[in-house]
Amino acid sequence: MNTNNNGYTILYTTVIVIVVAAVLAVVSQTLKPNQLANEKADVISQMMKAAGLGDKAGFEAMGNDKVLQMYSENIAEAYLINAEGATVDSLLTAPADKIQIYTPSMLKAIFKTARSGGVPEQLPVFKFKNGLTVIPVYGAGLWGPIWGYLSFEGTTFKGAFFDHESETAGLGSKIKDDPRFQDLFVDKQVLVAEEGVQFEIAKPGAHKLGESNGIDAIAGATMTSKGLNEAINLWLGLYKPLFTGIAAAPCEQQHEACEGHDCDKEQEACDKPCCQDKNTEE
């Protein structure tokens, strides 16, 4: 057989490509449900890690079903808010096969809208029964996208988990692999200021905000740290109503310490907004 004439060559390549395409299409369709289930369990375990319900390796060992079950048991409510902070829709948290979450690709869409100056219409908020609220972040690292979840109570972070697609192993990948880095967020506070809600990841000595409003960047991973800093600040900005709502709460709730304070005597306490309120009231 002459395998070198043009007709045969064209026919051969056509057949090969069609066969390969068909095989891949079938395999992709068959495996899709499994892959989506894995991704869902992965995202949920990341949120639960941020909410302090366990560590990532533990969730991986549990298997998908138990992760989903644990989520259903621990989530209080999940809903979507708009840029003004009003609830626009709710997300299903049970049964296991109907749980609605925000995957990184969905976060990417929000990120793109926000980065190009637009206003995202829907932002997911996850409230857990332990009182922590989890919000996602998504941004650009050095080599590819980075994303993660932050949990907070009031304006104080209580946990974090970050993931990435292709940050440098051993350096930028520490945002995911180094629990010590994620633990730095615990008990740090966002700064609710006129300009917006802020938090800072910067190298030691280069912090512009207060000590409690930032953490140290990862040595050797400048670009990843910078990307994470930008991502966190962008998303905190999107979720501003969530924080300003807290900051504008009645002063008794906000600064319990004000109770019983003599605002005239204690200068420090007098700087607190609630004391200022009290002073003006008086």
Binding site: N4, T9, Y12, T13, I16, V27, A41, D42, A169
Partner: protein, 204 residues
């Protein structure tokens, strides 16, 4: 087992190792050897891709038009790699590792060992020996990968397969070991050891 088959299997493991003797597949051996777990999954993936691609192309070898044979090889290899990637993504046990290896599974397509063995062996031999040749070369590659990963994980993170080994003795992890250049230094040392054992590899 006849001598030729035995030679086909054993040669790539040491005497004709794809990494240390043929110097193929260097790039990925620098990239995925930070942890043993990653290196192991990569090894198994490359063995599967190498073996199956060689098998399929050896079956097709007499029908492939000479002028487009590289393209046909590439299509088959790419299909195998995508299959492996899709499979890793769909099992609970391997999903996390696939995420960790990220682009490097896809980059097996560009691994010179796969194409190299197809060009050099599978297109001129029967399916069964070709299949074994692919598997053996994948294993030869993987062996070096695991050796490099062993030292890099131990010295770079103080762990083996994620289990803390040196950390408990107060070992301070070395960041240089984690960076790709150190893998190249290690590879150089392995080549050095092999050449001092196998004198016929030394240039006069």
């Amino acid at each position: 087992m006849n001598a030729k088959i035995k030679e086909t299997i054993l040669n790539p493991i040491f005497k004709g190792n794809p990494i240390t003797v043929l110097v193929l597949g260097i790039c990925s051996s620098l990239a995925v050897t930070v942890t043993l777990k990653g290196a192991l999954v990569m090894t198994l993936s490359v063995i599967a891709v190498c073996g199956l691609s060689s098998l399929v192309l050896s079956i097709l070898r007499n029908t492939i038009p000479g002028r487009v044979r590289i393209i046909v090889q590439l299509v088959v290899v790419a299909m195998m790699v995508i299959l492996v990637d899709q499979l890793l993504k769909s099992f609970e046990a391997t999903y996390a590792i696939d995420r960790q290896l990220s682009v490097y599974i896809g980059l097996i397509i560009t691994n010179c060992i796969v194409m190299g063995r197809i060009e050099a062996f599978a297109l001129g031999n029967k399916p069964w020996p070709s299949f074994l040749d692919g598997i053996a070369n994948g294993a030869g590659y993987g062996m070096i990968l695991l050796v490099v990963a062993f030292f890099r994980e131990l010295l770079g993170s103080g762990t083996l397969f994620g289990v803390d080994i040196l950390g408990r003795f107060g070992y301070v992890t070395n960041n240089l070991v984690i960076l790709p250049p150190f893998a190249l230094i290690l590879l150089g040392c392995i080549v050095w050891v092999q050449r001092s054992i196998q004198k016929d590899l030394q240039e006069k």
